[in-house]
Amino acid sequence: MIALFNSKTWKLSSYLIALVLMVPVLVMLVGGIGASTQLFGHLWQTVLPTYLENTLWLAILVVLLALFFGVISAAIITQTNIIFKQQLRWLLLLPLAMPAYLVAYLYTDLFDYAGPVQRSLRAYFDWQAPSDYWFFDIRTLPGAALMLALVLFPYIYMLTRGAFEQQDQNLIRASRLLGLSARQTFFKVALPLARPAIAVSVSLVLMETLADFATVQYFAVNTLTTAIYDTWLGYGDIGAANALASVLMLLVLFVVLAEQRSRAGLRHQSARPNSKRELLQLSFIQQCIASTFCWALVVCGFLLPLTLLIIMAVEYSDMAQLSVLLSTGINSLKVSVIAATIAVLIALLLGLYQRLHADRYRKIPQQISGFGYAVPGTVLAMAMLSTLGPLDHWLNAGAEFLGFSAPGLILSGSLFAIVFALVVRFSAIANGAIDSGIKQIPMSLDYAPASLGVGLTGTLTKVHLPLLRPAIFVAWLLVFVEAMKELPAVLLLRPFNFETLSSQIYQLISDEMLEQGALGAILIVLFGLLPIVLLNKSKDKV
C-alpha cells in the first residue's frame, strides 16, 4: 500500500525543520575542524593531550564500574531468588534521577577532611592531623568516575535486565539438558545473548559520561567538556572552544556508530513469549552478599544522597531561599514548557509525515532531527553560539544599515538560544515517544478514513491526534523533565542574570553552598523520578 497523502507544504516544513535543527552543529563542526591546523597544533602541544587522556580514562573507568554494578544487579534480580526482589527491581532504577554533580557534592561533603566521617574517625581514634592517617580522596578522576557510575549504572541494569527477562527459556533449558550447570549456562548462554543489549546500554553510559560537565568541573578533573567551558568563558576564545567541541563531537559520533553496529545484532534476541524461569536458589551467605550488593547501590546511588539533601533542606531552608527557588523555578518551568511543547510539535509533524506521506525518503527528516540527543550540552551550546552570534551581528548591522536601532543579541543572548538548544538536544526523546505511539496505531486506520470519504485534515484531527493523546503526554513530560535537568547548555547560553533551577544549584555547588539550594535540588530529583515511574509502568505492561 502506498502512503496516502502528498502535502507539499508538510514535506517542505519537515525538511526545513530538520535542516534548521542540524545547522548549528554543522556550522560548529565546519568552523571547528576547519579552524586552522595552527590552532589544533597549538592545542595539541599544550592542553589537548591531557584533556583527551582524562576524558578517555574517565570514560573507561565509568564504563567498567557501571558494567560491574549494572550487569551483576541485573543478573541477581532476574536469575536468583533474592529477597525483596519486587522492590529492588524498581529501586535499582532510582539513581537515574539523581544528577551526578549532586551526588559528587554530597559525598565530598560527607568524606572530606572537614566532613562528618573523617571528623568522627579523628575523634574516635584521637588522630590530630592529616598525616596521622590515610583516607581516600574523593575529588580525583577515579572519584568522579565512581560518582558518575553510581548514577549511570541503571542504564546498564535496565537494558540488561530486559534482555535477561526476554530470553527464550527453552534455550536455558536446552543448555541444562545438555549437561551445563546453572552457572555455566549463565556464562555460556544467558550472558552472550544479552551482549547486544549491554553494548547499547554501555554506549548510553559513554554518551552521558562524555557529556558530563558539572561533576568533573567540581572535582577539577580537566576533560574536554570543562575545557570547552573554560576556553570560552575564561579566555573568550570561540575558535579554540569550537575546535575542542568538534573533537568531543567526533568522539561521540564514534560511540554512536559503534552503538548502531551493535544494535544490528539485537535482531538475534528472541521475542518468544516467556515461560516461567527457573531461579537460582541462593544460600544464606549468598543471599546476604547479593542483598548487600543491591541495597548498597540503591542506598549510595539514591537513598543516602536524597536523605542528605532532605536533612540540608530541613536545617537550612528559609523564606528567602523559597523566594529564590520560586523565581528560578519559574524560569526553569518557562524554558522547559516552551522547549517541550516545541519538541512535541516537531515530533508530531515529522512522525506523522513519515507515517502518512508518499515520499521514498520520508524517514530522513525525523532521523536528522533525532541526532541532537548524542550531542553533549556543552558542544550544543558552542554550536548555538557560533551560529546565532554571527546571525545577531548580521541582524544588527542590517538594522543599522536600514536606519533602525540595533536590536542587540536577540538570538544568542535570549531565551531563544536555550530553547533552541534544548529542542535540538531532546527532539530524539519526543520523536521516540511519539513514534512508539504512532506505531501502535494499526496501518489500516490510516486508510479507513479515506474509504469513508474523509481527507487528510479529518484523518489527523479525528483519528491520529486523538489516538496519540497518551503518547503526546508522555513525550511532553519526558522532554520537560530533561529540560528541567539540563545544565551545561543552559549555563553557557543563559542571558545575563537569568538563573534556572539547575544553573542556580550548580552555582551554589561551585560556591560550596548547596545548603542554600537543597530544596531546589530535591525538586530536580523529584522531577527526575517522573520518567522512571513512567518507564517502570510501561516495562511492567510488557
Binding site: 500500500m1 502506498i2 496516502l4 494499526p442 489500516s444 486506520l445 486508510y447 479507513a448 478514513p449 479515506a450 474509504s451 469513508l452 470519504g453 474523509v454 481527507g455 479529518g458 479525528k462 483519528v463 486523538p466 489516538l467
Partner: protein, 368 residues
C-alpha cells in the same frame, strides 16, 4: 444489467516486481464478486488499486463511467465513493459504535445522520451496543460495526479484504449468509478477497480466480466449478484429483484402463488437441463421485490401485489411492493421490479395483 465497474489492462508494479499484469474485469451493479487465489497472487493489491491505496503503473479503473484512475490522473481515495471493510476491521478504538458509524457521514444534517445510524444499528442488530466502545464487542459484533460504518456513506462499491478470516469457523457460514442478505438488501455492489473457495460459493454471484497477477477465469461460481478453464484453476480450487492419461486422437489410456471416450475432440479444449498419429500426456480431472471402487479382487475386478492414506469424514472413509508399484507399468501414468469416499473399510496398502464412470471428461495440460 448496468455495468458498474470496468477495469482495463490494469498493471501494477511494486518495488520493481510485477504484482498485477494487464488485468481486465467488469462487474455489474448489485453483483458480489469473490476474488480467490493463493497468497501473493495480487488480489489484495487489486482491491487497494480500486480503493486508491495503490498506484497502478498502467491501465484504467472506471466506476459508473467516472474514470478513477488512468495513465494521466488518479482520483483521491476519499473522493472515490468506494467503501472498504478491512481484514482487521480498522475500527476507531477511541470512538463508540455510533460514532464509528457516523464517521463518514458528518457532511449530512444531524437528523439525516441520526436516521441513517439508527437504521443501520437496527438492521445490524447493534442498537443495544450503540454507545459501547469497540473493545467491549465480540468479533462478530465488531465485524457488523465495520459493515455498518462502510455502508453508512452509501458507497457505489464496497470492498471486503478477507472479511471472514478472523471469524470462528462455526460462526462464519451464518455470518456470510447474513451479510450477503444485507448487501442484496442495500443493492450494494461488492468485491471480496479470500483464499477460501468455499466462502466464494456461499457468498458470491461471480468468481474471479487469480494467479501470479493474472486473472485466470471469471464467471459464475457454478460455471467455474463445472468447467474450469485450466489445470491451475481446477488445481487451486481442488475440484478433484488428477489422473495422468496418454491421449491420442483415438482415445485416452490410463492406469485405470482405456477410457471410453465418445468423441475425444469434444472433451478437449482446443489448445490440448492432439495431432493425428501422435499422443500427449494430459491430466484428467476426476471428482470423487466419478470413481467406482471394488474392494473384492477377482477375475472381473482386477486390482489397479492401492490405499495410500485413510481418514474418517462425515461422508464416510476418505481414501487417497496410488497406482500399483509394478515395474511393468508406464511410470509417466503413475498416480498417487486419487481421492474418493466410500463406506467400505479398507486397510493401508490394500489393493482395490477402481473404475471411472463415464462422464464428460476434462483433460488439462499441467504446464498450463
Amino acid at each position: 444489467m448496468t455495468v458498474l465497474l470496468t477495469i482495463e489492462q490494469l498493471s501494477i508494479e511494486l518495488q520493481e516486481k510485477v504484482v498485477l499484469s494487464a488485468l481486465d474485469l467488469s462487474l455489474n451493479k448489485g453483483d458480489i464478486l469473490g476474488l480467490v487465489g493463493a497468497s501473493g497472487c495480487g488480489k489484495t493489491t487489486l482491491l487497494n488499486a480500486i480503493a486508491g491505496f495503490t498506484k497502478p503503473s498502467h491501465g484504467k479503473i472506471v466506476i459508473n463511467e467516472l474514470v478513477l484512475s488512468d495513465n494521466k490522473a488518479s482520483v483521491a481515495a476519499e473522493k472515490r465513493q468506494v467503501g472498504m471493510i478491512f481484514q482487521d476491521y480498522a475500527l476507531f478504538p477511541h470512538l463508540t459504535v455510533k460514532e464509528n458509524i457516523a464517521f463518514g457521514i458528518s457532511k449530512l444534517s444531524k437528523e439525516a445522520q441520526t436516521h441513517q445510524i439508527n437504521n443501520l444499528l437496527s438492521i445490524l442488530k447493534l442498537t443495544a451496543h450503540s454507545d459501547s466502545y469497540i473493545h467491549q464487542l465480540s468479533g462478530g459484533q465488531q465485524q457488523r460495526v465495520a459493515i455498518a460504518r462502510a455502508l453508512a456513506p452509501q458507497p457505489k462499491l464496497l470492498l471486503l479484504d478477507e472479511p471472514f478470516s478472523n471469524i470462528d469457523a462455526r460462526l462464519r457460514n451464518e455470518l456470510m449468509v447474513e451479510i450477503r442478505h444485507l448487501l442484496k438488501q442495500f443493492d450494494t455492489t461488492a468485491i471480496f478477497v479470500t483464499h477460501n473457495k468455499d466462502e466464494v460459493f456461499t457468498f458470491a454471484d461471480k468468481m474471479a480466480v487469480m494467479a501470479e497477477g493474472k486473472l485466470l477465469q471469471f464467471d459464475a461460481p457454478n460455471v467455474i466449478c463445472q468447467q474450469p478453464n485450466s489445470y491451475q484453476v481446477a488445481d487451486f480450487l481442488q475440484l478433484g484429483s488428477w489422473l495422468p492419461c496418454r491421449v491420442s486422437s483415438t482415445g485416452a489410456q490410463s492406469l485405470l484402463g482405456q477410457l471410453e471416450v465418445a468423441s475425444l475432440a469434444s472433451e478437449l479444449v482446443p489448445s490440448e488437441l492432439v495431432p493425428s498419429g501422435q499422443s500427449k500426456l494430459l491430466h484428467l480431472l476426476v471428482k470423487p463421485q466419478q470413481l467406482n471402487l471394488t474392494a473384492k479382487i477377482d477375475d472381473e475386478n482386477i486390482a489397479n490401485a492401492q490405499v495410500e492414506y485413510i481418514s474418517v469424514t462425515e461422508q464416510g472413509f476418505h481414501y487417497y489411492l496410488r497406482s500399483l508399484t509394478d515395474a511393468a507399468i508406464d511410470q509417466s501414468l503413475a498416480f498417487n493421490k486419487l481421492s474418493l469416499y466410500s463406506d467400505v473399510a479398507l486397510a493401508i496398502n490394500q489393493q482395490v479395483s477402481v473404475q471411472i464412470t463415464p462422464h464428460k471428461f476434462l483433460f488439462f495440460n499441467n504446464n498450463s
